[in-house]
């Protein structure tokens, strides 16, 4: 399973390396989203500093949707998914590989977006341990649930509009918990202590674990059907 996951992740990342869709389209889009948030808050600096963690994770959510769409667009084009089905790769491995590729792309995007909120919203990044731990856990959760729902809606005519509707409410807890963790790390939450932030990591870890397990168990059936 792990070897298959590596193969699939390497394949997806190689396609990205050649097509550069995430690099040339998704990343610029997420930076534009940050700019738009700035306009929406009328460049009110104190307000932007307060809201920066939430805006950051919203931008990640929007870009994550695009990354997942892209991850399945490369499978549906030219019936590539049939080859994937007929290959002897384990479905659980395919799931983990695709999720890993999406997660890696999102981590790069998050690093750039973090730079974005520092420059545009004057956020001061602090609490590196909490920041990185919550980013890793929420990225795992977003990638796992995204790939599971991406497979669910893969073969459908309306997948471009259906996936955001399915995924956005599912990801709401991740956006909430990650935002709270980052607020605690930045010292913006009421309590002021970062121990409050670490508690939100439990929720993020649960979410990631549930979707990783669910995806590993159900991906075979989903691939057969859609």
């Amino acid at each position: 399973m792990w070897r298959d996951a590596l193969v699939v992740a390497a394949k997806d990342l190689r396609i990205e390396g050649r097509a550069k869709v995430a690099l040339n389209q998704v990343i610029p889009y997420s930076l534009v989203v940050l700019l738009l948030f700035g306009f929406a808050f009328d460049q009110d600096r104190p307000l932007l500093v307060q809201a920066a963690p939430g805006l950051f994770w919203l931008a990640v959510l929007f870009s994550g949707l695009l990354a997942v769409q892209r991850s399945f667009a490369i499978e549906t084009a030219d019936g590539a998914v049939d080859n994937l089905r007929m290959s002897a790769l384990e479905p659980a491995g395919v799931f983990l590989g695709k999720a890993a590729a999406v997660a890696l792309e999102l981590l790069v995007l998050e690093a750039l977006l973090a730079g974005g909120i520092v420059v545009l919203f004057h956020s001061k990044l602090a609490g590196a341990g909490l920041l990185i731990a919550s980013a890793l856990l929420s990225t795992a959760g977003v990638a796992a649930s995204g790939v599971a729902y991406g497979a669910l809606s893969m073969g459908l005519r309306v997948r471009e509009t259906l996936l955001p509707l399915l995924l956005a409410p599912v990801l709401a807890p991740v956006v909430l918990a990650a935002t709270e963790a980052w607020r605690a790390a930045f010292g913006l939450s009421g309590g002021g202590s970062s121990s409050e932030g670490w508690r939100w990591l439990g929720l993020l870890a649960c979410f990631a674990a549930i979707y990783l397990a669910g995806g590993v168990l159900s991906f075979g059936a989903l691939m057969e059907e859609t």
Partner: protein
């Protein structure tokens, strides 16, 4: 040939529908006139005779959807029946979920002074409603019955998880929304208030059952239409071509001849 263009009602649903209407009327009478205003909440307590019952029916709908989905996923139990039951539960649950949000919002405006507050219970219910819309959209998007049942049953399990968290939200988090009224060792409600509240559960339970059965039968009729609709239309065209006297009744030009209505609900 069985006609897919058939009503989804039967004697059972007619009895159920009329008794639902009667209990709703009785509930309105008891709730607005017989039960006294509350010591703390005053007249606003009358929302107690609508909102909790509606919210419970919302949970019941999603609960039925989840149980039916599990039954469908279980290889030994698998039958299209469970899938129909799941969609009926989810759709009726979604209607009651919206009603819960609306009645809760009205009650919130009356007792908290705001239409909406970012409380764990309220937020989770809103997410639940969004999930149910996603579930229904997913079902509409998939044509193959087997794939549809498989994909939607997975989403249904997630909705069930949200229902459980939503139910315990008032005890797990410090919420503005009040906790349990009835299901506690020493309920803080008595007399006419208790009686009216219990009646509201009966009234909305009857409405729920009535809607659920109709929705289930509608699904049966839809499936039948998918299977037989084309050949029926073909037959009607043929009958039209051979002239009006060849068909059973007199049919105006352009109108489709229909065989006599005959209902077989499986």
């Amino acid at each position: 040939m069985r006609n897919p263009v058939a009503p989804s009602s039967s004697r059972l649903t007619r009895v159920l529908g009329w008794s639902a209407l009667a209990t709703l009327a009785l509930n309105t009478w008891w709730g607005l006139w017989l039960s006294p205003p509350d010591v703390v909440q005053g007249q606003f307590v009358r929302m107690l005779y609508v909102h909790p019952a509606v919210a419970t029916m919302c949970y019941a709908g999603f609960g039925i959807c989840a149980l039916a989905s599990i039954a469908w996923l279980w290889p030994r139990l698998r039958s299209p029946r469970w899938d129909r039951m799941a969609v009926a539960g989810a759709e009726v649950g979604a209607v009651f979920c919206l009603a819960t949000l609306v009645t809760g919002s009205i009650w919130g405006r009356a007792s908290w002074g705001v239409w909406w507050t970012w409380d764990a219970r309220l937020t989770l219910t809103a997410i639940l409603f969004a999930l149910s819309l996603g579930y229904l959209a997913l079902r509409r998007a998939i044509d193959n019955p087997h794939s549809r049942a498989l994909a939607s049953s997975m989403v249904a399990l997630l909705m069930a998880l949200t229902v459980v968290v939503d139910h315990y939200a008032t005890s797990w988090w410090n919420t503005l929304h009040q906790g349990t009224t009835l299901l506690q060792p020493d309920p803080t409600i008595h007399g006419w208030q208790l009686a009216t509240m219990l009646l509201s559960f009966l009234a909305f339970g009857l409405v729920f059952a009535w809607m659920l059965i109709h929705r289930y039968r509608l699904e049966v009729l839809e499936e039948r239409y998918d299977q037989e609709g084309f050949s029926m239309a073909l037959e009607a065209r043929r009958a039209e071509a051979t002239g009006p006297e060849a068909t059973a009744g007199s049919v105006a030009p352009g109108e489709v001849a229909r065989p006599p209505v005959e209902v077989h609900i499986r």
